[in-house]
Symmetry: C2
Subunit: 457 residues, 2 copies
């Protein structure tokens, strides 16, 4: 094995916190995606920044790939060891280091999950808003620039990571950003690292921006005869600048899957699931304005979830939509892809997508964070059928091309990983080469998550 | 002259849109700062991206520095030609290329000023929120990551530039970002360019995020016996998460200067100037909550500016504070410096600053965007007195050190330019070297605004 020396050195260094057992390796070859790769050659479980530094140093010495691992919930094969090497599993770096209520931020290790952080925050009146559905680690969310249902109001990880500690490929440990609310001193390295998918370094500490829990929250489920009406309602709501906290689209198939999985009983047609945050009166006012727009587009029903437990059930159902869809057709595998288009193009993009899906031999569902112009297609593919597999691939590629044609991006939140590398040139042109130059500068040996993100890698 | 060949080639290329006349050169050596430098050797006035590309190509061929120039309002000598070379004045690239009301964005050339853009937007119901006071160009604001009075609500240029066209040092023209509201595809090069102060490339086109004009706006002026009470009110307001549109501090000296310059008649004590954006009811509610906090900290008076003309006068007075301070003591020169600290440290930072200022032979004023923890000290310095000049320098350095000691940043919005280069190591540590690596990768000849931003440059 080419990386034997690195594996031996890591084993000596970490003892039983370095594993080459088949079960552990295979657990780190799992991915919520069609993209597959052989397992890594070893998995390290560091507990401190110093240990991460030494792991990277050892790997650099032996030219061995290093791949970060959070909760394994990424959707484009980000954390797969395409070129072998060592996976750094951050599950033991899962401490919340500080919660600063006065300055509304938290300092966490990368292995803390968003649910763990929010659990700790309950008594403070604060919360961490970014919510991709899965209970991902905050390090993984930062590395993939995750977003989700609340991004329409609170932004993505780009907007909610204030500062980082990062171990670079040459073992340097840098700190980017400060706890101040803004700064104009130098290149925005925090922003450069967020979304870099582990190709520039490994994050070992994150300073996150927290939000005040809203004084009042209300949520509603709104059913439409057609998906077009639901989308028109969403587009108008955003264009009227109603400050939505969430505005989610589920098509009829999506609702059927959610009903089956979460024991809900929504009518099986297109729905918007919405939430409002604010004061008692502003929430009421925003909800009324939204209600008027929904009515204009002939919403069939409009049900309020005013009780906390109803809202929790509602959003749990939405969060579980991915697994609901996975489970909906047991003989099939769910294949999910996402794009994001300018909000004015959302109707056209979804209509074109539905038209294209008519050609497929499988059924599919469209769900999305429509307030951001971001939507997902979940395809129910019989993977034993090579025709269906090819069709699914073609549909995903058609989605990406549609996004580019409409001035959008080939991924709103899933990222590039391995799955969407082929679209980088088309989306970024020569700017993709600039990404490659930055990568080669900071990682000339190409040990940090090789095979991902940049050209010729 | 070492750059004669470049100057000759540029003159042939641009004709009378390339100037080496003394008046033009000296106009491009002006700076709102103590930092001085000799004028550039030539000034180019391009009209298209293609011309900017050719200018950069010619300069690269002859190893000649290239410095971007917007409105010349930066405060740390950003656009001074420290190593000679050619200034690229964007005043003829001042077209608004597109206003997309549905997607709430605008595409502009870099020489458009923020006031020009907002003038064009008047009929659309949208506005561009970032407001540094000066009528800076949008290109300059992006290059320096400007912010100002409304950043507490709408963010800085980091948050409001969606996409860029940039001419790189080697003449490549790249496009970063898309018109979609979010993306997770690749390194955030838009974020890398915003705030890079012309050291990585020249921006030739900007796609900006627009905001809906609020349905209702109200503003108030709130006087306090002591500056501590004003700061405590601001800190509590932010910690209570009241969604302020602006919350500005002026100390007694600042108010006196504003009164003299803008013919206002505010009592000469510490003030908060606040503004609320929202619906009629939310604005009323927010203002009431703010009023309760101000009362708790014994505000002396609380005057509403409900009429548009009163608000305009109020914010014009605040915007003119910089010039008001410049004019306040005619025998002195105003020297302005800014820092940004975590909001919880704001009271301590300002108290320490005031204590330090007691040692100075000149008077000074503290004004600030206190909702962000960002404040400015304006010192009235007799520049003919070398002792005062030294004292001013020492005060500014003390400010920067105070910011770092309190977990903040040496500039919230003025940037680094030439004036604050010496603090980069202290603030960023090894991350500053990473900035240097990126710079050398994208500009190996070091022609883009040399002498700024990065180490050993």
């Amino acid at each position: 094995m080419p990386n034997d020396k690195a594996l031996d050195a890591l084993s000596s260094f970490l003892g039983d916190r370095f594993s080459t057992s088949k079960g552990v390796l295979e657990a780190h070859a799992q991915s919520e995606t069609f993209v597959t790769a052989p397992p890594p050659e070893g998995v390290a479980f560091p507990e401190t920044t110093e240990e991460v530094t030494e792991i990277v140093r050892i790997c650099a010495e032996h030219d061995c790939p290093v791949i970060g691992w959070g909760a394994g919930t990424s959707l484009e094969g980000h954390a797969l060891a395409l070129r072998g090497g060592v996976t750094v599993d951050f599950s033991r770096m899962n401490k919340i280091l500080a919660i600063d209520v006065e300055d509304m931020n938290a300092i966490v290790q990368p292995g803390v999950t968003r649910e763990e952080l929010n659990h700790e925050l309950r008594a403070t009146g604060l919360f961490f808003p970014v919510d991709p559905g899965a209970n991902a680690t905050l390090g993984g969310m930062a590395a993939t620039r995750a977003s989700g249902t609340t991004a329409v109001r609170y932004g993505t990880m780009r907007d909610n990571v204030k500062a980082l500690e990062v171990v670079l490929a040459d073992g340097r440990v840098i700190r980017t950003g400060t706890k101040a609310r803004k700064s104009s001193t130098g290149y925005d390295l925090t922003g450069l690292m967020v979304g870099s998918e582990g190709t520039l370094g490994l994050m070992t500490e994150l300073t996150l921006r927290l939000q005040a829990q809203p004084e009042a929250t209300s949520a509603a489920v709104c059913a439409f005869e057609t998906i077009d009406q639901a989308i028109a309602t969403a587009m108008t709501t955003i264009q009227m600048a109603i400050p939505m906290a969430r505005i989610e689209l589920l098509d009829g198939t999506g609702v059927a899957a959610v009903n089956a999985y979460s024991k809900t009983s929504l009518p099986e047609c297109a729905h918007l699931l919405v939430e409002f945050h604010g004061s008692e009166t502003s929430v009421k006012e925003d909800a009324e304005r939204f209600g008027e727009i929904a009515e204009e587009f002939e919403a069939k029903s409009f049900d309020w979830a005013t009780r906390q437990e109803d809202r929790t059930r509602l959003w749990a159902a939405r969060h579980n939509a991915y697994w609901a869809l996975q489970a909906y057709k047991p003989s099939t595998t769910g294949f999910s892809t996402d794009i994001c288009v300018p909000i004015s193009k959302l109707g056209q993009a979804i209509a074109d997508t539905n038209k294209a899906l008519e050609e497929a031999d499988f059924i599919a569902s469209i769900i999305g964070h429509v307030g951001d112009g971001n939507y997902h297609v979940n395809m129910f593919v019989d993977v034993s059928d090579p025709v269906q597999k090819e069709q699914a691939k073609a549909q995903a590629e058609g989605m990406a091309e549609r996004a580019l044609k409409l001035g959008g991006t080939v991924s709103g939140e899933h990222g590039i990983g391995f799955g969407k590398l082929k679209f980088m040139r088309q989306e970024h042109g020569d700017a993709w080469d600039v990404m490659g130059q930055i990568k080669r500068t900071l990682d000339p040996q190409n040990i940090m998550n090789p095979g991902k993100m940049v050209p010729g890698n």
